[in-house]
Amino acid sequence: MMIEAFEADAPKSLLTRLTRIAARDPDAECWIEEALVGRLEWLGELALEVAVESEDPMGTVLARCVEMTENLNVVNQVRELVEAPPYSSSVPLREVRRVATRIVLKALKSAVAESDQQQLVEAEIARLTLAQAMSMAELGQHQAALAESYEALELHERLAPIASPKQRKRIATSLNQLAANLETVGRSEEAEELVRRSLEMRRGLVAEGFEGAHSELAGSWANLGSILLSQGELESALAAAETAVDLYQESEAHKTIEGKANLATSLHNRGVILLKLGRGGEALASHREAVALRRRLANDRPDAYSHDLASSLNSLAIQHRDRGDWDEALSVIREATELRWGLALRRAGAFDADLASSLNNMGSMLQESGSMAAACRAFEEAVEIRRRLLLDVPLAIRPLLASSLNNLGTCLHEMGDSASALAHLYEAVALRRELVAKAEESREADLANSLNSLALVLRRVDKVEESLSAFVEACDIFERQFEYQPEVHRFPLAMSTYNLANLLHDLGRYGVALPLAGRAVSLFKQLTDARPRVHGPRLVMALDLATNCFRRLRRYEEARRVARAAGLVLDELEQRDARAYRSLIPGNLTTRAFLESQLGNGDCAVALLREAVERYQDLVPSRFAAKPKLALTCEVLGQALADRGLLDEACVYLGRAVVVYEELEASNPTDFRGVSARCRERLLEVRAQGRAGEPE
């Protein structure tokens, strides 16, 4: 009797192991080919299953095998399988979908003239052309996908006079797909027109009660939302995204895996729009919901939904950063970037754009956390990828490249490489000027951002006039934008107004700087009310600048009032997080002491200086930078006490100053020898003064 040597699961076990071996060693892909060629007829579906479970490189090898197959029936059989769930959403099967569709489409086109069922074949050609467009778009072949989408739409519309509801459904899908492709390549106005047509058709199908029309209508709304977002029409975009969410939730489809994935996409899009509208709390809730849903989907089907999860993590990280949760933001963006590295490794065309986006965001977060070198590396990689993508989809990539150039420029500036920073920032400004000139008004704020960054670098390299004019231009733009969207533009306006005021102050133009500093204070005050931990220190910074302007203008009363206000903000911040903010307090105390002494309140000045000394003393063990300030404040206090005749106490503080100066001198004689000697001398004088006054 013939014995069956292998169990029923043996073929799957072999294909799975061959896939895992080839994932580690690409040279071993030939063994998967050896296993599949000539056996696709019965192994095709098993290979798809293995691709879903074990991922790459089974899909890409299977695509090569399909390409080599001469049996059209086998190719068609694979195509039908890969077009339907669960395989239709699998990333590792994108190449299979693309190849199988192309082969069958070519065969149908050559057979249509001789067919006795011409209309049916033409309808199938139209359907497959659309499928081809979708698979090209999935692989990042955007221009080819666009041409194919136009052809699909034309073919479907030619069939329109005989259109059954099923045909109209396909026309609507064609319109929706074409719109998505147009948006990807940055042609959002054409996209909007088409998606609105698709929306109308699908409304009609819903009214007719056509099966599945509800969730497809939601798809058109979602698409419209995303297109309006790219046009900067935020309110309308939000309305569209919310309609999509409602429709998905109402439809039965949201109980299926694909339905859940679509709902997650809508929640994600809604979050992105809310964030742009400055409605951070709602955006965070929407993104958290999307992440939770997508994480569940990706756990079950990593091959299909990891890229969606990466996308939502990317947005969630931005939210955490905006709320000041730096550690959380970095950990989330790292997860997103890691996922996208993995995806882009095998399908650069499809995932490079996403990877660049995560790298750009990770760079910003690393920069904010002070990891400048790592941030620069991330920005450089983002710039490199985006330069490459620029050739394929210039319209869509140009603004993104400008953003990465801007970030790289600011990062290099912070690392002290002003020359490279300037080169990148000039390029960013030029690109953004081009975009604004092409009537992309929504890009004006980006231009202002780059101008602001450029101005900061110009200032460092002493190109003061050029810096001033860039700051002024940036402020003008932000003021205009602020009128329309105060929530969105309040922070950048506050920052650039502060920067301009600061430069004017440093140029000695205190009278001009003062109102600008006041404007910055009022903007930061509004921001601080909403998020004290994030904006409180910036409010203090603006109050300090206003104080200094008043002081220089010898308006000491007003200076004192503003410095006190800064002190109150600092007290509040210290109560929230003493460790983070206590270092800012002694500086404010010394400023106020100076002002009190100018106003003739010597006692008050001395009291403030005493508090400042104790504060600096507390800081010294953890912050070396506090040490010179401690020495200086002790010296000033000693002097003030001596002036008031309190010589014993003056000697105590001058003595403390001498001790600290001598410690500093030991490690840095160049900077501290002079001041140390001066203070010693002063101490001796005060001691002598004291002895002279003693009764004999």
Binding site: R20, R24, A35, R39, W42
Partner: protein, 164 residues
């Protein structure tokens, strides 16, 4: 612990072992091959104890690679039939193959199957990889089904006829 983490942990153990025995810098593949060579030496020793002919014992690795590639074998008869799918063992006597499969069963006793695949997966897959070019692929026809012959090239056939 997930499967992947488990494999990584085992790889760490293996690399620690290698580092003790042969200090130096080792890549993943080198570590796995080092451990497989130890396994091979061990099998050769056991084969000697079982008085298995040397030429037969040279096929033990391939036999284990085959069993690992299909996820194990269910009983002795199936194990022998599986071995016959390899050209190396195709013409061997039943009694000899029986000795081979019993030796393997004793060395890799099954929890789920009569003989389990070599564990961890990472090590078993390295063994498969090493044996694929040595004749393991002979068994594909039996595991996956015989290949459909390629279609005849009609135009080529026509040309031959015309020439005649």
């Amino acid at each position: 612990m997930t499967k992947e983490h488990f494999s990584r942990a085992l790889l760490l153990h293996m690399s620690a072992l290698v580092a003790i025995e042969e200090p130096g810098k080792w890549g993943q593949e080198e570590i796995l091959n080092y451990v497989l060579n130890r396994e091979k030496r061990f099998l050769a020793k056991v084969a000697g104890e079982w008085m298995l002919p040397v030429e037969i014992s040279r096929g033990l690795g391939r036999a284990m690679a085959l069993i690992t590639s299909v996820g194990g074998v269910a009983n002795e008869d199936k194990a022998i039939a599986a071995l016959r799918s390899l050209r190396f063992f195709a013409d061997e006597k039943e009694s000899m193959l029986s000795m081979v499969v019993h030796l393997l069963r004793e060395t890799y006793p099954g929890e789920l199957r009569w003989i389990d695949p070599m564990m961890p997966d990472l090590l078993g897959e390295q063994l498969i990889k090493n044996e694929l070019g040595q004749g393991l692929a002979d068994s594909f026809d039996q595991i996956l089904g015989r290949k459909r012959p390629a279609a005849t090239d009609d135009s080529h056939a026509g040309e031959s006829r015309a020439r005649r």
